[in-house]
Amino acid sequence: MSVVDPTTPLTVVTGNLARRRRVNRLMLGSSTAAAIFAVAILVIVIISVVQRGASQISLSFLVKDPAVGIAAVGGGIADAIVGSAAIVAVATAMALPFGVLIAIYLTEFSSPRTARPIRLALDLLNGMPSIVIAVFVYGVLVAGFHQTGFAASFALAIIMVPLIARTTSEMLLLVPRELRDASHALGVSRWRTIVGIVLPGALGGILTGVVLAIARAAGETAPVLLLSSIFGNTTSIDVFGTALPNIPMIIFNDSESGFPADHARAWGAALVLIAFILIGNLVARAMLARQRRKLVAR
């Protein structure tokens, strides 16, 4: 290393220190650049979808069934919107009570020893690839029978349960201990305390979890690909009888098509889906902030 000239004033940055400052600026600059990059990707994806999808969106796109025929132009995705809504609604009806009950068990009744395997099971379910869940549900409900919207709902419910259970148990833990104690002291039974005091106190947070789970389920494609992908082009809510058309399948099929008209329909459907998901996430975020304020302010 070079010897520092003792006559230079200390305010002049030289040699080693100058190098350290350069490295510092470079690394901090690249962190900032990484953050800008991530936001840029989100913006680029959303702009692509909005730009190409917006020209598709019209009233008839939302309320008409698709035109029939290869590379047919016109028509809409009403069948897929209705089908997706039916599949996700049935999935929510199954996952919501199940997830909330698990959360109640974890926060109100479990000991650390019994909670551990349940939390592990929820973690494993949460990390399980959706295609694996889809193959499992295929083996249970579709093999030897045929695809149904219900099979897709069942797979989506398995995906939703750990999400709902986790947010719900976090929210139940936020409900102050004193409320429970006060309720017990007044002689209120345990189940009335849970149903009347604890759950209402955490309602906003529970709904947040449900909204996020619905937003996640609405875009899940692997389950519907295996369980509800062979369908006609008519609007139906016969969840138990047939495979239902749905938005992720429309996007998936049309994205792999060679026809520009199909691509256009895929962008339109993608815009509908992404708008639903982003609005769901924003609503959930707002609800969560409100709930936190409510519980913390108490």
Binding site: A38, V45, V49, S110, F136, S189, W191, R192, A222
Partner: protein
Amino acid sequence: MTSATPAAVSLSPTRRLSDRVGDRLIVVITVLAAIAAGALIVLIIYKLVDGASASVSKFGLAFVWHSTWNPSAAAGVRNANVFGAGALLFGTVVTSTISLLLAVPLGIGIGVYLSLLASGRVGAIVGPLVELLAAVPSVIIGLWGILVLAPFMRSTIMPALHGALGWIPIFGTPSTTGLGVFTAGVALAIMVLPIMAAISRDLFLSVPSELKDGALALGMTRWEMIRGVVLDSSRAGLAAATILGLSRALGEAIAVTQLIGAGSAIHANLFDTGDTFASRIAEQFNDSTGLWTSSLFYCAVILLVMELVINFAAQVIVRRFERRMGLAAR
């Protein structure tokens, strides 16, 4: 019967029947729900192994590395109805590696920015935006990948890499469509990135500020403080985050199916087509029959095993880390 005995009555003289039944019932119902969650895992494992049994007994463990995948059942065809997942193992490893190589450093950088550099107001906007990226469904990433990313890769990135680094076999001749292993890996990186970023931000925020201030007081630059204190004390957490990102990349089926081009050979060239366990299932499941379906179940079993191993590895890392931190705090 027993409830009529004086002792039982005196224990809870005022409790109504509905309360007694309700208290018992809510415990039973919630316990059943919790047990059902565990039972579901067991049922999933059982059902997948059951579906794969035909393929397992025919091909055994060699299925994992043999690379013939021939669903053709016509008589006289060589290797007809023989399945092996070697090419899928290769594709899965390569796409996941690409996604982690891109997403881990970027995610850590975003974590540093959000936890240490961003001013409150900017961070409050950028943080949620990065999290929103995780909410974009994979089928939309795939659609965007096919129609926007792949043509861009084909016209710009791939020729540039091929031109500059073409002497390395992995940067070979670009595919005609832009679809391939590399494009799929980039799309996976986009999905892994928000996970990495969110976890590393939370990790860095939890580093005690005394340590950070102490390092700065000793005359370190901010980057030296970040490298020496923040990153160093978060090593285990970052390893766990990487593992969780890996689990996301391994299991993603849809976007990879859309972007990888459904090849069945093993190439050194990253710009060529390939396939992963998950994408092979997504592509072929609806057309498959018999032993073919069973082999796809086998692929699902392999994915499940990978996921279980990864999850346990992450838990072990976090637990060891927590123990160490616990000792350090005492």
